[in-house]
């Protein structure tokens, strides 16, 4: 079975549309619709070449990760026909229908049912039933429509199919074509000994003999089915409408954490949903910075948020669902069985973020830039810092103003900082200074016309140490006279 393309709001069929992905030398065609394929566009070729063939080609970028996730969901959806399903590559599903086809009235009727259901989802599918994974793969892609192959018919039904149906990589296919082996039947007819000798060191992807054995059923290729993840949710059905969910929350949290503990998981998100009697639904979401299953902690995150729920005429159903599940193990970090310190820290950050908003809790990290305001970046408190090792050579102030404050120069001197200036309505006399340290604008980021800065460490008569800078030079052609700013304070 093969998912050709997902159709949401599909473009009209008479326009050639292709999906592109990034290749080694620019974008290449990922998939093409029927019109585009009729125009001679082949997947795998470069988009610029295909534009030359077909100027009215419309190109959109493929969402490969999204397609893969959708296919994973489809694997679980296909459990309606048989219990063993698995994803096959990026564009196929394998269903082990052994013993399940009679429930649908035979194999042919089952294929029709599958195609109907999939087309109701908006999917074009090519289906085949065969005794082995390899044979089904080849028949679905190169065989007739809804092909059915019995256990003893593999040689006849697959012999005429092209050799590309053997699931080999491109260099091996090219080699086989050069050897004159164009069909699977031709490969089957080659003596086994010569194939073994020729491909003695090749891997599975490049070994026609192994692939042939898999196709014929001589080598086992079992279907290892994936398990559907259980939805972890706790709910409270109330006998009559209430207006305040607070009394029910500890019990819900306990219930949820029990379920999480049984599956060995922790949650990063919690979704509280209340269903009102008038049919309306309200949500409250909280997030944690590390997976957790501590009911008291989860309960505390909702502390001030429940007031925002508009109860209306009351609600009679409360559900608490865990999202973003992650594996979690109880760890003992200390020999004497002490508490887990990291966990306490993550819980602290969760509490602070839940109360004051995630923007209020940040962690500054150093970045590689000479401009002081760009040398620091704010990241989320528990995010991993990108490993930009910065070595600070120059002395930097302990405090920085978010916005540098302009000073009024009372007594300028030709070089060095002003001898006297007024800042925050106070006159400061410069007793000693160090500098200048010239920091040029970053031309690859700044607007043209940004002026350079000369930084001075300045100490006034009382010992206050300021970081002062002059923006621009005299007659540098970027504005009038240079201006002076206070940017930071030294200890």
């Amino acid at each position: 079975m093969r998912v050709m393309e997902r159709q949401g709001n599909a473009p009209p069929d008479n326009i050639p549309v292709v999906l592109a992905r990034e290749g080694q030398h620019g974008p290449v065609i990922h998939a093409a619709n029927r019109t585009a394929r009729l125009e001679g566009i082949t997947p795998g070729s470069r988009v610029v070449d295909m534009r030359a063939i077909c100027p009215e080609l419309q190109v959109a970028y493929a969402d490969e990760a999204g397609d893969r996730a959708a296919l994973d969901r489809l694997v679980l959806w296909a459990r309606r026909w048989c219990p063993w399903t698995v994803r096959d590559g990026n564009d196929g599903l394998i269903l082990d229908t052994t013993g399940a086809d009679h429930l649908w009235g035979g194999e042919a009727a089952m294929l029709v049912e599958m195609e109907t259901q999939l087309s109701l989802l908006g999917l074009t599918a090519r289906l085949a039933v065969a005794p082995t994974w390899g044979a089904a793969w080849a028949l679905a892609r190169f065989g007739p429509v809804r092909a059915i192959c019995g256990a003893d018919e593999i040689y006849f039904k697959l012999g005429a199919l092209p050799v590309a149906g053997l699931r080999l990589d491109a260099p091996t296919l090219l080699l086989l074509r050069r050897l004159g082996l164009k069909t699977i039947g031709a490969v089957m007819d080659v003596p086994r000994l010569s194939l073994t000798r020729r491909f003695v060191k090749a891997g599975v992807q490049a070994n026609p003999l192994i692939r042939l054995d898999q196709l014929m059923g001589k080598l086992a290729e079992p279907v290892s089915s994936v398990d559907a993840k259980p939805v972890i949710r706790a709910q409270a059905r109330l006998a009559e409408p209430v207006f305040d969910p607070t009394p029910y929350l500890p019990e819900l949290c306990d219930d949820l954490c029990d379920q999480l503990k049984q599956t060995g998981q922790g949650c990063r998100r919690l979704h509280l949903t209340v269903y009102r009697t008038d049919g309306d639904v309200s949500h409250v979401d909280v997030a944690t910075s590390a997976p957790t299953r501590d009911p008291a902690h989860l309960h505390g995150l909702f502390r001030d948020k429940l007031e925002r729920i508009n109860p209306g005429f009351g609600f009679d159903l409360i559900t608490l669902a865990a999202g973003a599940l992650e594996e979690m193990q109880d760890r003992q970090t200390r020999l004497e069985g002490g508490a887990d310190d990291d966990l306490r820290l993550t819980q602290l950050i969760d509490r602070l973020s839940a109360k004051f908003g995630p923007c209020a809790v940040t962690r500054p990290i150093l970045r590689q830039s000479h401009l002081p305001e760009r040398a620091e970046a704010q990241i989320a408190a528990l995010a991993n810092a990108p490993g930009e090792g910065t070595v600070l050579i120059k002395e930097r102030p302990l405090r920085l103003l978010d916005h540098p404050e302009e000073v009024r120069v009372l007594y300028a001197v030709p070089e060095g900082p002003p001898a006297q200036f007024v800042w925050r309505r106070q006159t400061h006399r410069v007793a000693r200074y160090a500098g200048p340290e010239r920091i040029a604008p970053e031309w690859w980021k700044d607007r043209p016309g940004t002026r350079l800065r000369d930084y001075f460490k300045v100490e006034n008569q009382t010992g206050l140490r300021l970081w002062l800078y002059r923006e621009g030079l005299h007659e540098d052609g970027r504005g009038g006279d240079p201006r002076w700013f206070v940017h930071g304070f030294f200890a």
Binding site: L345, Q347, L348, A360, V361, R363, R399, R465
Partner: protein, 228 residues
């Protein structure tokens, strides 16, 4: 020097040597004499125990606008800083108290502007008890504030004074020097010091201030002035 040395020991090693176990970390207050003076912050940072435990740094909005934000480039970069920027003093106290429950923090530093009514004796007492229970050093930096009733175990007035001479450049400021005034302390004797801070080794050297001799009745008379 005696009041600084015990706090320098690593937390886990305290009380293991022949030296008596020092007092637990507690709440200290620092009052800079000028709002833009970073000396109080530098002094508080120099008093923190060494290590790479993260520091929770809570600021209210006015402190950030008037005195800037702590710049990572100016600190010793080995300890991560978790910044919490809030607007009200009540929230700052709440966040500090919540942070003091977390023993894995290296320190909790709060900055509050002025004398908000919520920062009373009870609030500081709560902070002090929490800090002592969790053995996490807690510093409250209060700008433009009057040192009224408080339960802080150590209360410092910190001011910048002209720095030490630069070893290579006579017109440049050298190592920073601070005038420290411990005007209330529970575990040590109050006193006044002049501290000079060595940035390379992150070390504070305290010295008693050199006082001028009291002015004598005969000093500055006309005869001596002409003779000198």
């Amino acid at each position: 020097m005696s009041c600084v040395t015990p706090l320098r020991l690593h937390k886990g090693l305290e009380g293991q040597g022949p030296r008596a176990a020092p007092i637990a970390h507690t709440l200290s207050e620092a009052f800079p004499n000028h709002p833009a003076d970073a000396s109080a912050v530098g002094f508080a940072l120099s008093r923190l125990p060494r290590g790479t435990a993260p520091v929770l740094w809570v600021q209210d909005r006015l402190s950030r606008k008037e005195a800037g934000r702590p710049a990572l480039a100016g600190m010793r970069a080995d300890r991560p800083v978790i910044m919490v920027g809030l607007s009200r003093a009540v929230d700052v106290l709440w966040a500090m108290e919540d942070g003091l429950r977390c023993r894995s923090l290296g320190a909790v530093i709060g900055e509050i502007w002025g004398d908000p009514p919520c920062l009373d004796f009870t609030a500081t007492k709560r902070l002090a008890l929490r800090a002592e229970a969790g053995d996490v050093p807690c510093w409250l930096i209060r700008r433009a504030a009057s040192p009224d009733l408080s339960a802080a175990r150590e209360r410092w007035r910190v001011a910048s004074i002209p720095s030490a001479p630069h070893p290579h450049d006579p017109q440049a400021p050298g190592a920073p020097r601070w005038a420290l005034d411990l005007f209330r302390a529970r575990h040590t004797r109050p006193g006044q010091w002049v501290a000079s801070y060595d940035r390379a080794t992150d070390r504070v050297d305290l010295a008693a201030p050199v006082r001028d001799r009291a002015v004598d009745a005969r000093d500055g008379t006309a005869g001596e002035r002409t003779a000198g």
